[in-house]
């Protein structure tokens, strides 16, 4: 394993060229993730990345680390399993809004409430990109797509509120094109002891002409410049449920967060087992006398 000082963010880059559309927000999202991993002293050999399905899910191929690209919507359970087996490993899960808030919504709720020590990055472009432009759970209700020709007529999911309601201990939002802030926020999520959730606005330049770079650049309010106390639950609720504005920054952080594995006393590297049955294993049999 390379020593910390030698790790550069490019060590997390694979030599595969991304097939994302030129200008896709996922480039910026990924760069920030790589920078944050390097800045927090990780290296590819002690990092495990679990990727979802869709454009965002391709990230596992473009980054370099131990990684798995799973089935649609199930990144979080996989990441949970990795972390429980290997509390010594840095675990990151990444996927899109469809992957995380539609097919994987149930897992999102439960990984959040378990407070598994990992960083979950959702590349939210408010559209299904890889299947060529259908409505996603975060699409605006009036947004016209191939499957919602008159708009979906349903309110979008508010992932931050969903996280808060599920007992999240770290809730943040960032913008892929605001490189420094984005990397900074991911870094904070990595350093959080527990489930670090970051919803990243990662614009789709091909299918979404509403939630564009310009839109986010003009409308996003940075909590760093507001008088926001991230440890204040009520204040967090205020910005998360604010219907008039969208924010970037850390909305909420629970100072008393105890990650799942610590709460359950899991400290060992579960990969290490004896050559035969464990010592005193006959006690397992004697229990049945």
């Amino acid at each position: 394993m390379s020593s910390q000082s030698e790790v550069r963010f490019t060590d997390f880059k694979s030599d595969k060229q991304p097939t994302w559309c030129p200008g896709c927000g996922d480039f910026g999202t990924m760069n920030g993730m790589m920078k944050a991993l390097a800045n927090t002293g990780n290296d590819p050999d002690n990092t495990f990345l679990v990727a979802g399905i869709g454009c965002s899910g391709k990230i596992g191929t473009y980054m370099h680390s131990y990684a798995i690209h799973g089935v649609h919507g199930r990144a979080l359970p996989v990441a949970t399993g990795v972390k429980m087996a290997r509390p010594d490993i840095e675990v990151m899960a990444a996927g899109g809004d469809g992957d995380g808030y539609s097919i994987g919504a149930g897992h999102f709720v439960h990984a959040t409430r378990r407070n598994v020590d990992m960083t979950y990055v959702v590349m939210d472009n408010r559209i299904y990109g890889l299947t060529k432009g259908q409505a996603s759970p975060t699409s605006r209700s009036d947004f016209e797509t191939s499957t919602t020709p008159e708009g979906s007529q349903q309110p979008p999911v508010n992932p931050l509120a969903l996280a808060l309601a599920s007992g999240a201990t770290f809730i943040a939002q960032s913008f892929a094109s605001d490189a420094i802030r984005h990397a900074e926020i991911i870094e904070e999520a990595i350093e959080h002891d527990g489930f670090g959730f970051v919803n990243v606005f990662s614009p789709c330049v091909t299918f979404n002409d509403v939630d564009t770079y310009d839109y986010f650049r003009d409308s996003l309010v940075d909590l760093k410049e507001e008088d926001h106390d991230r440890h204040d639950y009520e204040a967090a609720k205020g910005v998360i449920l604010d219907a008039d504005k969208e924010y970037q920054g850390v909305m909420y952080q629970n100072e008393n967060s105890i990650p799942y594995h610590e709460r359950h006393g899991v400290t060992e590297n579960m990969a290490e087992i004896p050559d035969g049955a464990p010592e005193n294993a006959m006690d397992l049999v004697r229990e049945f006398y």
């Binding site: 694979s14 799973g70 199930r74 359970p77 949970t80 087996a85 439960h110 049999v285 004697r286």
Partner: protein, 584 residues
């Protein structure tokens, strides 16, 4: 009178039937008697008929029979449900003071014991079942003192007063029968110096997992597999492991997959409906070449079917389930002790061949308890084979000229080197997408064929390297062959003895490996008749064997939801032998 005794307690679900049965079974086991239990339960918490049956002998017992000697009846329905099995010489223990007038046929000895009043005298009506156990002891000549240890085990945690009250309740039941009846039904339960352990198939699977080094388990509660999870919770922690009760089966298998990618020996257990939900990830497990043990404790299907009833209907699902073509291993224990050993094997196959391994058990194995000598589970004999899991300094041998780890190297035997997180230079991507040997997505036709062949080659390697044998009993020279899988083995062993008495010799092959499976061509050719016995309607294993051997077989199928009984099987086999051979 035979020394084989069949005892049962029946009543409403929620009446404590299960724990009462278990206490008696443990007492018999502590007295050095063999025990085989079966449960008849409904899929509800309270209400609905439920019964716990015990067959006990000083010889090994491994099946149920159609005979009941002593019945503790807490309701009229208990008597009605079991009328067929009661005989002259049977005794029914009931409480005549309770509000129902028990209707018991004249030829059966009715033993009216004021269970509830005596229990109240001993400290609480809740102990009425234990009073009944005391009464049963008196009728069967079984020393009530043997109950004491079982009562301590059951109630020890609740304090000595509770234990003492229960012991007293048992003695009150015994004394009541002794003082009010002069019974001689001929039962005299001998005891021996043997020390047996009493456990069910789910527990044996969980114990096998611990012995084999399983450290992570994720599952979702489902009958009849939940006991595996309940067994592991509270025990796996002492080895540094953990159980997660996942939000659903999709999550459970994905968590288990994640832990396995982390390098842990990892397992999930479920029943048929859960296997359906896991199918998508099952393909990913195989394609990403992740070692994983998946236990399917079968129950009646399809859909939610009959959750508390026996069936062997998932063979096709486990052999063929999942889209695309998925290399896999399927092992199926045929006895409770094999639930332990096959689980141990499953972990070794999973790591050696880096592929999912199904352990397919059935409800009859899972919920049935049986006595064994403790040495049956000799932990010194447990071997761990981690296959090609590399040491840290071996990773460099498997890098390509650009320094990438060849996680899916297309080796001759199909088995690749395996690096897990933390190993220097072993970082690599795995995916359910078709990939090259570095794990990177590809649609290159040559690489596709290379990787498919590589994965399938593991199965060929395993076929050549491992012994996919079977168990054989009965008359090895007999012209007629009976083939079975799963829990039917126990009943068949006793059926063979019954058939021998009638001069109908049969040879029985019980198959614990469903894929890869033993080659039975020679055995089939040598036999006049082949009968395949299984608990399903269509004969899934019979179909597979016909396909393997190109020979038609006769079939005995039971899909009532109830397991085979020895005497029933003996009759059916005789009848089948007299039938015409099906057309080739």
């Amino acid at each position: 009178m035979t020394e084989d005794l069949n005892w049962a307690i029946g009543g409403e679900a929620g009446d404590g039937i299960d724990s009462t049965g278990k206490i008696f079974a443990q007492a018999l086991s502590r007295a050095g008697r063999h025990v085989f239990t079966s449960k008849d339960f409904a899929s509800r918490i309270r209400g609905g008929y439920t019964a716990y049956k015990i067959r006990t002998s000083t010889d090994r017992v491994q099946s149920v029979v159609d005979r009941l000697d002593i019945l503790v009846a807490l309701t009229q329905r208990t008597i009605d449900e079991n009328l067929d099995e009661l005989h002259e010489g049977s005794a029914v223990i009931y409480d005549g003071e309770r509000s129902w007038d028990a209707e018991i046929p004249d030829e059966i000895t009715a033993v009216d014991v004021p269970l509830k009043s005596l229990a109240e005298e001993a400290g609480g009506a809740i102990m009425l079942n234990v009073v009944a156990l005391g009464a049963a002891c008196e009728i069967t000549g079984f020393d009530v003192a043997y109950l004491d240890e079982a009562l301590e085990k059951r109630f020890g945690g609740k304090g000595s007063k509770i234990v003492d009250n229960n012991k007293d309740a048992a003695r009150k039941g015994r004394d009541y029968v002794r003082e009010n009846y002069d019974l001689d039904l001929g039962y005299a339960l001998e005891t021996t110096d043997e020390d047996y352990v009493l456990l069910n198939g789910d527990e044996a699977i969980g114990m096998g997992a611990l012995a084999a080094g399983c450290r992570f388990y994720a599952g979702y509660p489902i009958t009849p597999a939940t006991n595996v999870m309940e067994y592991l919770i509270g025990r796996i922690e002492q080895y540094g492991g953990h159980v997660v009760q996942a939000e659903d089966e999709l999550s459970a298998i994905n968590m288990a997959l994640g832990a396995a990618r982390g390098g842990a020996r990892s397992m999930t257990a479920t029943s048929g409906p859960g296997i359906d939900l896991m199918a998508e990830t099952f393909g990913l497990v195989a394609t990403s070449e992740t070692p994983l043990v998946i236990v399917d404790v079968m129950r009646s299907g399809p859909s939610t079917g009959m959750p508390t009833k026996q069936e062997q209907g998932d063979l096709n699902m486990t052999l063929y389930g999942g889209h695309g073509e998925i290399p896999r291993f399927v092992v199926a224990p045929t006895t409770i002790d094999e639930c332990f050993w096959k689980t141990v094997e499953a972990f070794n196959y999973a790591e050696k061949y880096q592929t999912p391994v199904y352990v397919v058990a059935d409800l009859a194995l899972a919920v049935t308890e049986q006595t064994f000598s403790p040495e049956t589970f000799d932990m010194d004999a447990v071997e761990i084979d981690r296959g090609n899991l590399l040491e840290d300094d071996q990773v460099s041998e498997w890098l390509d000229d650009q320094g990438h780890f060849r996680a899916h190297a297309a080796t001759e035997d199909g088995i690749s080197p395996r690096a897990i997180p933390g190993m220097t230079d072993g970082a690599h991507m795995s995916t359910g997408l078709e990939h090259d040997e570095l794990g990177r997505r590809t649609e290159d036709t040559e690489v596709r064929v290379e990787q498919v062949d590589k994965r399938n080659r593991k199965v060929e390697t395993a076929k050549a390297e491992e012994e996919w044998d079977y168990r054989e009993f009965g008359d090895e020279d007999a012209d007629n062959l009976v083939v079975s899988w799963g829990s039917n083995e126990g009943a068949l062993r006793e059926a063979v003895a019954l058939l021998e008495d009638e001069d109908v010799p049969v040879r029985v092959i019980s198959v614990p490996y469903l894929f890869p499976r033993p080659d039975l061509n020679e055995e089939f050719e040598a036999a006049d008749d082949v009968i395949v016995v299984e608990c399903n309607a269509t004969g899934q294993f019979a179909d597979v064997l016909e396909h393997d051997t190109l020979q038609r077989v006769k079939r005995i199928n039971k899909y009532t939801g109830v397991r085979f009984k020895a005497d029933e099987l003996a009759e059916e086999i005789t009848a089948k032998l007299n039938e015409e051979v099906p057309a080739q």
